[in-house]
C-alpha cells in the first residue's frame, strides 16, 4: 500500500484524486454510490455571487473520445453554497475546493470574500469557463486580465487560492506566470477546449450555445503537454486535469508535474472512476516499488 497523500499549499489530501468542477455538483448525487471520504478532495460546481440559470438546451454533445458541454455556470449562488452545501461537504472528510466564477473581477472578489468566515479549505478561481458571455474565458485568455482578477481575489481572501486556467490561449505558461505573480498559490489546468459540432441533417449546431467546452480522453495529451510546460514555468503547485480516465493517466499527469489530479468526463462514463483511479494508482506504485506518490511528481525525463 503506497502512500497516496499529497500536500498542496499546506493543505493535506489523503490522495491526489479530486472530481473536477461541474461534473460532480456538490457531491450529493454521487454519495448515493460511494462515500465521499474515499476522495482526496472535491472541486465544487462553479458558483457565482448570485444564482445563474445557465444556457438553453441542448447543453451536451458526444464527440470522438469525449464530449462538449455548454451548461453556462448554472448554480444556486454563493449564499446557498455557504448555507446549505458547504456545511454538508465539510462533514465528509475530504478537501473542499470551492470553485468560484464571476462576470467581473469585483464580483469574483466579492464571492471569494463570502467564504472567508467558512472552513472551506481552498478556493479554485475559474477564469476559464468557455460557456459564459462575460467574464469566464475572457479573463483567462489575457495575461493582464488574468492577473487583475487574481489580484482582486487574492486581496479578498486568506484561503489558499488556486487559479484554473484555460487551454484556449497561445501561451498558457504566460498566463500561469501572470497569475503566479498576482498572488495565486497554485494553478489548475486544463479547463475545456472550445469546440463545436453540427447536426448535418438540420444544419444546426448540436449545442444551443453553438460552441462548448471539449473534455474527455480526446484532450488528455493536450493536458499532459500543458501541465508539463506550466510546471516547468512556475514555482507554485500545479493541479492537473483533462481527460484522465485511469490510474495510469493520473500517474502520467503527475509525472508531467501535477501535484494532484482532477477527474471530469470519465465520471460520466463510469461514476466510480475516481475511486477506481485511486486503486489503480496504488497498484501501479506498489508494482514499481514506489513508496509515495509524491515521489513521481514531475519526474518525467524529457529527451
Amino acid at each position: 500500500m503506497a502512500d497516496l497523500s499529497v500536500n498542496i499549499c499546506g493543505v493535506d489530501f489523503k490522495n491526489p484524486i479530486i472530481p473536477a468542477s461541474g461534473v460532480f455538483g456538490y457531491g450529493r448525487e454521487y454519495e448515493e454510490l460511494f462515500p465521499l471520504s474515499k476522495l482526496g478532495g472535491i472541486a465544487t460546481k462553479g458558483t457565482t455571487r448570485h444564482l445563474r440559470t445557465g444556457n438553453l438546451s441542448p447543453r451536451i454533445a458526444e464527440t470522438p473520445s469525449g464530449m462538449l458541454n455548454s451548461v453556462g455556470l448554472q448554480n444556486p449562488g454563493i449564499e446557498h453554497f455557504v448555507s446549505t452545501e458547504l456545511p454538508n461537504l465539510l462533514t465528509k472528510d475530504l478537501v473542499v475546493l470551492a470553485n468560484i466564477a464571476g462576470s467581473t473581477p469585483d464580483e469574483c472578489a466579492e464571492t471569494a470574500a463570502m467564504l472567508n468566515d467558512t472552513d472551506v479549505h481552498m478556493i479554485e478561481l475559474n477564469i476559464s469557463c468557455p460557456n459564459v458571455k462575460q467574464g469566464g474565458a475572457a479573463f483567462g485568455t489575457d495575461c493582464g486580465m488574468a492577473a487583475e482578477v487574481t489580484k482582486k481575489v487574492r486581496e479578498a481572501t486568506n484561503k489558499p487560492l488556486v487559479v484554473k486556467l484555460s487551454p484556449n490561449v497561445t501561451s498558457i505558461t504566460d498566463i500561469a506566470k501572470a497569475v503566479e505573480a498576482a498572488g495565486a498559490d497554485a494553478v489548475s489546468l486544463i479547463n475545456t477546449l472550445l469546440g463545436m459540432r453540427i447536426d448535418i441533417n438540420t444544419g444546426r449546431p448540436i449545442l444551443r450555445n453553438n460552441v462548448g467546452g471539449l473534455s474527455g480522453p480526446a484532450v488528455f495529451p493536450v493536458a499532459v503537454r500543458m501541465v508539463w510546460q506550466v510546471a516547468n514555468a512556475v514555482n507554485i503547485p500545479v493541479i492537473g486535469m483533462g481527460g484522465v480516465s485511469s490510474g495510469r493517466d493520473a500517474i502520467e499527469l503527475m509525472m508531467a508535474g501535477a501535484s494532484a489530479v482532477q477527474v471530469g468526463a470519465a465520471i460520466f462514463t463510469d461514476p466510480f472512476a475516481p475511486v477506481k483511479i485511486i486503486d489503480e494508482m496504488n497498484e501501479f506504485l506498489d508494482s514499481k516499488g514506489i513508496a509515495s506518490v509524491k515521489d513521481i511528481i514531475g519526474t518525467v525525463k524529457p529527451w
Binding site: V23, E32, M67, Q74, P271
Partner: protein, 256 residues
C-alpha cells in the same frame, strides 16, 4: 438505495421492429426499487456518454426490467450489438417517474413512436382503467400492442400513413375519448409537438397530465446540470433537469 451502477446479465434479447430492440435484464436490486416512468443510463462501449433509455417493464418477482430502444446513432447501435448472456453496464433506476393515481377511474396513455415503451408499466398499473393510444409512422413500426392488450387496457393504434389502425395523429382518437368519457389523468411520451398538443388539451379541460421528456444528458443523476428543461414552479421560471426532476413532469410545469 435510490440507484446503483453495475453490470447485469441480458436474459432475453429480441428485435421487435426495424432497428428496435427489446432487452430483458436480470437486475433484482434495480427491479426492486424501480417505478413506472424511470429510466436506465447505459454505457455504450467506446463512448464517453451513457445513453438514457426508458424502462418498459418491471418484474419485481423475477427481478428483471425490460427496455425497448431504437437505434438512433452510433451509441445505441453499440448497445444493440449486445446479446443474450452479455453484461450490460447500467446506472439505474434513475429519474422521477409517473404519478399513479389509485383513485383514478379512467386514464389515457399516449405514446408516439419510441415514446410508447414507458407507457407499458403504467398500463400494467391501471389495467382495465386505461386506454392506450399509440402512434407510429406505419404498420411496420408498430410495437408492443400485444403487451398493452395483455394488461386489459383498451388499445388504439394510429399510423401516419393509415397502413394500420386510425389514419392520422393520436390527437384525433384522444379528442373523441375526451368528448365521450370523464378522464381523470393523461400520460404521454413521444415527439414534442404531440406532447405540446396533449398538454394544451388537458390544460383546457382541467385534466391532470404528466409527460415524459428526453434531452441530451451526461451524468444522469442531477449533478452536471446538462439536461436542462425550462419549467415554471410557483410562477417562477427555472431550468429543471430531465434526469432528476424528470423525465416525467406535470405538463403544466413545462414551458414549451
Amino acid at each position: 438505495m435510490k440507484y446503483t451502477q453495475g453490470k447485469f446479465i441480458i436474459a432475453e434479447k429480441s428485435a421487435i421492429a426495424r432497428n428496435i430492440y427489446s432487452f430483458t435484464i436480470s437486475c433484482p436490486e434495480v427491479a426492486a426499487v424501480t417505478s413506472p416512468g424511470q429510466f436506465v443510463h447505459i454505457r455504450a462501449n467506446g463512448f464517453t456518454l451513457r445513453r438514457p433509455i426508458s424502462i418498459c417493464g418491471i418484474d419485481k418477482a423475477k427481478g428483471t426490467i425490460r427496455i425497448v430502444f431504437e437505434i438512433r446513432g452510433e451509441g445505441t447501435s453499440a448497445i444493440a450489438e449486445l446479446n443474450k448472456g452479455d453484461l450490460i453496464d447500467m446506472l439505474a433506476p434513475l429519474g422521477h417517474g409517473f404519478t399513479v393515481k389509485p383513485d383514478a377511474e379512467r386514464v389515457v396513455l399516449i405514446g408516439g413512436g419510441i415514446g410508447t415503451p414507458p407507457m407499458l408499466p403504467l398500463a400494467q398499473a391501471y389495467g382495465e382503467k386505461a386506454t392506450v393510444i399509440s402512434g407510429f409512422r406505419n404498420a411496420a413500426a408498430v410495437i408492443l400492442q400485444d403487451d398493452f392488450r395483455k394488461t386489459g387496457a383498451d388499445v388504439i393504434i394510429c399510423t401516419d400513413d393509415g397502413s394500420t389502425g386510425y389514419h392520422g395523429l393520436v390527437t384525433a382518437p384522444f379528442d373523441g375519448i375526451l368528448n365521450r368519457d370523464k378522464i381523470d389523468a393523461v400520460y404521454a411520451c413521444g415527439p414534442m409537438p404531440m406532447l405540446k398538443s396533449v398538454a394544451a388539451v388537458c390544460k383546457e379541460k382541467g385534466i391532470f397530465c404528466e409527460i415524459s421528456l428526453e434531452e441530451r444528458m451526461a451524468c444522469g443523476i442531477g449533478a452536471c446540470l446538462g439536461c436542462a428543461c425550462k419549467t415554471k414552479r410557483n410562477d417562477e421560471e427555472y431550468f429543471a433537469h430531465v434526469c432528476k426532476d424528470g423525465p416525467v413532469f406535470n405538463a403544466e410545469e413545462v414551458i414549451w
